[in-house]
């Protein structure tokens, strides 16, 4: 009981701090013209916001759709000798700046949403593949032996044993990838992909802080939300039998 009270008071402290910060940043934003701009152009911001979310969701979905199966493939017996090799190459690719990935994609695909999504998919792939491999390869071989010995087919072993046990680490990869994706998606504007980058880059170009913040604040909020949401999802999906630092 006492403990609860204490955590309540700590919560109150943070709440107060958050209120204070919001208040201060609100004044600051108002000075920079952020609020004025937002109030003047709600439809445009909303449209770009939706577009941004679309970019993120579509590209992340494709990244997961490609990344998790690739991770599964890389941990199958026959791929074992190539695994590190492929992961190293992917690691090197990841060091290429996101802007460069978008630029390279543009030289082949021209401009538009497709190019943006393609680049985002490529850029978001590595954390997912790497974590899928780490999660699946890190499973205690004893439980795989037990499953095999009890007569599970390779597919049953994968879906009933391997994936549930690797899920926490795979979801962490997805979370990292998605959060990065929210930020990178802002660059879609540069290849005509739309999204909140429109406001950010235009604002920078026009040296209009209010304009820029109208893009930057929702982007940041979206990233924070995605991080929180996928974290919550981990709690729902991952079995209670696997206790990590939840």
């Amino acid at each position: 009981m006492r403990k609860q009270k204490k955590s309540g008071s700590v919560g109150r402290f943070w709440m107060m701090t958050a209120f204070a910060l919001t208040f201060i940043s609100g004044i600051y934003a108002e000075r920079l013209g952020f609020l004025q701009f937002t109030m003047d152009n709600p439809e445009e911001i909303w449209m770009l916001f939706v577009e941004h979310i679309q970019l993120v969701l579509i590209s992340s979905a494709i990244s997961i759709g490609i990344g998790v199966p690739t991770g599964i493939l890389l941990t199958r017996g026959f791929m074992r000798s190539y695994r590190d090799w492929i992961l190293n190459i992917l690691g090197i690719c990841q060091t290429v700046p996101s802007l460069a990935v978008i630029a390279i994609a543009m030289t082949y695909l021209g401009i538009g949403k497709k190019t943006a999504i393609f680049a985002l998919v490529i850029y978001g792939l590595l954390p997912i593949i790497r974590n899928s491999v780490a999660g699946l390869a890190g499973i205690n071989p004893v439980i795989l032996d037990a499953g095999k010995g009890m007569g599970m087919t390779p597919a049953q072993l994968l879906f009933k044993v391997e994936l549930p046990n690797a899920m926490y680490i795979i979801l962490t990869g997805i979370r990292t990838s998605t959060v990065i994706n929210v930020g990178t998606a802002a660059m879609s504007f540069l290849v005509g992909g739309g999204g909140l980058g429109d406001l950010i880059f235009s604002g920078i170009a026009m040296v209009d802080a209010g304009y820029m913040l109208a893009g930057a604040v929702p982007t940041a909020a979206l990233a924070i939300f995605m991080n929180w949401f996928i974290g919550k999802m981990e709690g729902w999906i991952v079995s209670d039998g696997l206790v990590y630092e939840k």
Binding site: G149, G151, S239, G241
Partner: protein, 384 residues
């Protein structure tokens, strides 16, 4: 039931066989122990039976059917599999772990519920408490129990067990072994049981196959392995204390002297005293009608007493049961510093008597094959 014929396993890239031309037959309903030092091929041999290791040459037949001709998945589902590291699935509850194979075999929910409750009760775990726990919430001994339970879930006629009690402390291991033997007595499964512990082998096995460097050295009953080791290797393996190991194997009933000399509670003290002096006995067992043990009397107690022996008899504080093993009996005798212990059954009926001399001579049979003699407890029933 299980017949291995000229079974050989050579791992790829190796020239030395891990299992070399092993033939053995495991009769139905028996526990066959595969024993040997690490790397002797015992686990490999076991894993070939459910084809977790491909067979290089030779055949394995279960119920006359060649396992290589069976569908490997169906084969494995029909064989219980328990391993030393337990391998419970951490993301599944106890219930889900136990029902893995039943689920694969398509049992319905009701069948699975009943089976889980039945099995948990069998291994002395309260289903209400344990069925929804996760493996991380179990102690080592509980997890081992669940591991064995899981192997038995779909009631397979054959079970493979690779040191199933290996990962727990000696006290809990004894308990689990006893529990398991009790279950086995009822279920009569054909079990291939891998261990490196000769004590466990002697205790659990109906037959023991001793392996060394992939070769089958001796395949015999525990009794035979201890009393007639085939060669020096077997002797060394079972250990210089193999005589003591027999204590695990033998029951009190095997070594006790039946029909010890005794008197009845109704007998007159003076007469008994007379006979005891005559026969040079210091003490005497006293039984009630129906051969129920009452206690004992000694000469000093009887002197000068008029009446029946029953009034004087002192109860025995320490007794053993005929089905206890000799190790327990000897340990009791040593603990309470008594030279003689009386065996009574659960109803209190006198069965026999055990003294340190007979114990030593029974155990001594291991050393000299010409046997020993019984020492000199007086037997022959009623003294009067």
């Amino acid at each position: 039931m299980i017949r291995l014929e000229r079974l050989t396993k050579i791992y790829p890239g190796s020239t030395i066989p891990a299992v070399d031309n092993v033939s053995l037959h495991i009769p139905e309903g028996e526990i066959c122990i595969l024993i040997g030092s690490s790397g002797c091929g015992k686990t490999t041999l076991m894993r070939m039976i459910n084809r977790l290791e491909p067979i290089t040459s030779g055949t394995i037949k279960i119920d006359g059917k060649d396992v290589t001709h069976m569908d490997v998945i169906a084969l494995r589902r029909s064989i219980g599999y328990a391993i030393q590291q337990i391998g419970l699935f951490p993301h599944m509850t106890v219930f889900e772990n136990i029902t893995v194979v039943p689920k694969l075999l398509g049992w319905n929910k009701k069948q699975m519920n009943e089976r889980v409750d039945e099995l948990l009760s069998l291994v002395n775990l309260d289903p209400a408490i344990y069925r929804d726990r996760y493996p991380r919430e179990l102690s080592g001994g509980q997890a081992q129990r669940i591991g064995v339970t899981r192997a038995m879930a779909a009631n397979p006629p054959v079970m493979l067990m690779d040191e199933p009690f290996g990962a727990i402390d000696p006290i809990n291991r004894e308990v689990l072994q006893d529990e398991f033997l009790k279950i086995q007595e009822k279920l009569k499964k054909t079990i291939v049981f891998v261990t490196h512990d000769i004590h466990e082998a002697v205790k659990m096995g109906d037959r023991i196959a001793l392996l060394d460097a992939g070769n089958l050295i001796q395949y015999a009953t525990p009794e035979e392995l201890l009393t007639r080791p085939k060669n020096q290797f077997v002797k060394d393996f079972v250990g210089a204390d193999r005589a003591l190991k027999r204590l695990d194997l033998l029951k009190v009933a095997d070594a006790m002297l039946k029909n010890p000399v005794r008197c009845s509670t109704e007998d007159a003290s003076e007469k008994i005293l007379e006979r005891m002096v005559e026969k040079n006995l210091n003490y005497l067992l006293v039984t009630a009608p129906g051969n129920h043990l009452v206690g004992y009397v000694n000469i000093d107690m009887l002197r000068g007493h008029k009446g029946v022996v029953g009034d004087l008899a002192r109860p025995m504080s320490i007794t053993v049961r005929p089905d206890q093993n000799l190790k327990d009996a000897l340990s009791k005798m040593l603990t309470y510093d008594i030279g003689i212990v009386v065996a009574v059954d659960d109803q209190g009926v006198l069965q026999g008597i055990l003294n340190s001399k007979t114990l030593v001579s029974v155990v001594g049979e291991t050393y000299d094959e010409h046997g020993g003699h019984w020492g000199n407890i007086t037997t022959g029933g009623r003294i009067l």
